[in-house]
């Protein structure tokens, strides 16, 4: 029963997929092949991300993380969050577990959000790829708009959160 509840979301989507396959075989098969492609991507990215966060959790002391990315870290914290998010590889959902470890280690919310923002849009390997596909003007204009945008959004978001909401999110991160 516990297992069913835990895997509810996966079970429901599998059911939808099965129904689609029955109604429209062609679309259903296409959906399965695209899902397979995403799963392959997940397998290629997810294990190192999780091992990395396990190592981070065990080896890096909370004090160090707080010093460099905590409440008092200032510009240093912003730059570091940007760099850490930008050098990473993998889709956005890979950033969330790492963000949870950051919160556990006392990284301030705005820096966690900058990390998420950088991971989503300013990844360096991706930038080179973007330049070759869409041109330097497109990619660099986007990058230059995104950097201040990410910082602004992160600060506005963290100022909109009430103190108790933030501590609830941080407590929740301890459990994950």
């Amino acid at each position: 029963m516990v297992l069913i509840k835990r895997y509810r979301f996966a079970l429901i989507t599998t059911l939808i997929l099965a129904v689609m396959l029955l109604i429209n075989r062609e679309l259903g098969l296409k959906a399965i092949s695209i899902t397979g492609f995403s799963l392959k991507e997940m397998i290629s990215v997810i294990p190192p991300v999780f091992i990395l966060l396990g190592l981070l959790d065990v080896w890096v002391p909370k004090e160090t993380m707080m010093k460099y990315m905590g409440e008092e870290s200032g510009i240093k914290g912003i730059v570091l969050s940007f760099i850490l998010g930008s050098v990473a590889a993998g889709p956005l959902y890979g950033a969330f577990p790492i963000a949870a470890v950051f919160m556990k280690k006392g990284v301030r919310l705005s820096n966690v959000l900058i990390f998420i923002g950088a991971w989503s849009t300013t990844k360096i390997p991706m930038l080179l790829f973007e330049i070759s596909a869409l041109g330097a003007r497109f990619a660099i204009a986007r990058l230059l708009v995104d950097i201040p945008g990410i910082i602004l959004i992160s600060y506005v978001l963290s100022s909109l959160m009430k103190a108790e909401e933030v501590s609830q999110i941080y407590e929740n991160a301890e459990l994950l």
Binding site: A10, G90, P97, R137
Partner: protein
């Protein structure tokens, strides 16, 4: 290529960790597995959802909707499509280039690429697990609105009107 670099660096770190402290390394791996198992259901669900969506929204349908004549309507539409779908960058950029070749405008593609990366409707269940409902919804709304600014500026610069 990216994942090779990730795997290699993680293996190196893991080896160093193992020689320094076996117990701690074991604990790290245990934690890694626990966090992974924690979001496994959501991840599988999201993958299937993406498969379902992309089988309906194909490149042909998208480029028909967001031609360069489509103006702000096309921008909004591409932003929505980008927000809902989740395509890895290595597929997304060539797709975006293909859409451009098929007549999509720079502003529309700017909106599409931006929301594709910053907004995640299908990944929201995973995000909520970590950040709670309110922060997840707010972050996605802000990123969505911001994408229009990105689209406007990128559209002007990429088509050579600015600079």
């Amino acid at each position: 290529m990216n994942s090779y670099i990730m795997y290699t660096s993680v293996i190196i770190l893991l080896t160093i960790s193992f020689f320094k402290d076996k117990k701690k390394t074991k604990m790290a791996l245990k934690k890694a597995w626990k966090s992974f198992e924690n979001i496994l259901s959501q991840l599988i669900g999201v993958m299937i959802l993406v498969g379902l969506l992309l089988s309906v929204f194909n490149a042909e349908l998208i480029s028909k909707l967001i031609g360069s004549e489509s103006g702000w309507f096309g921008v909004i539409l591409s932003a929505i499509v980008g927000a809902i779908t989740l395509i890895p960058g290595f597929v997304a950029f060539p797709t975006a280039a293909m859409l451009l070749d098929n007549g999509a405008g720079y502003m529309q593609i700017g909106a599409f690429v931006s929301t594709l990366m910053m907004v995640g409707v299908v990944t929201a269940p995973v995000e909520i697990k970590y950040f709670g409902k309110r922060l997840t919804i707010l972050r996605n709304i802000f990123a969505f609105i911001f994408s229009f600014i990105v689209a406007y500026i990128v559209g002007k610069v990429a088509s050579g009107i600015w600079f």
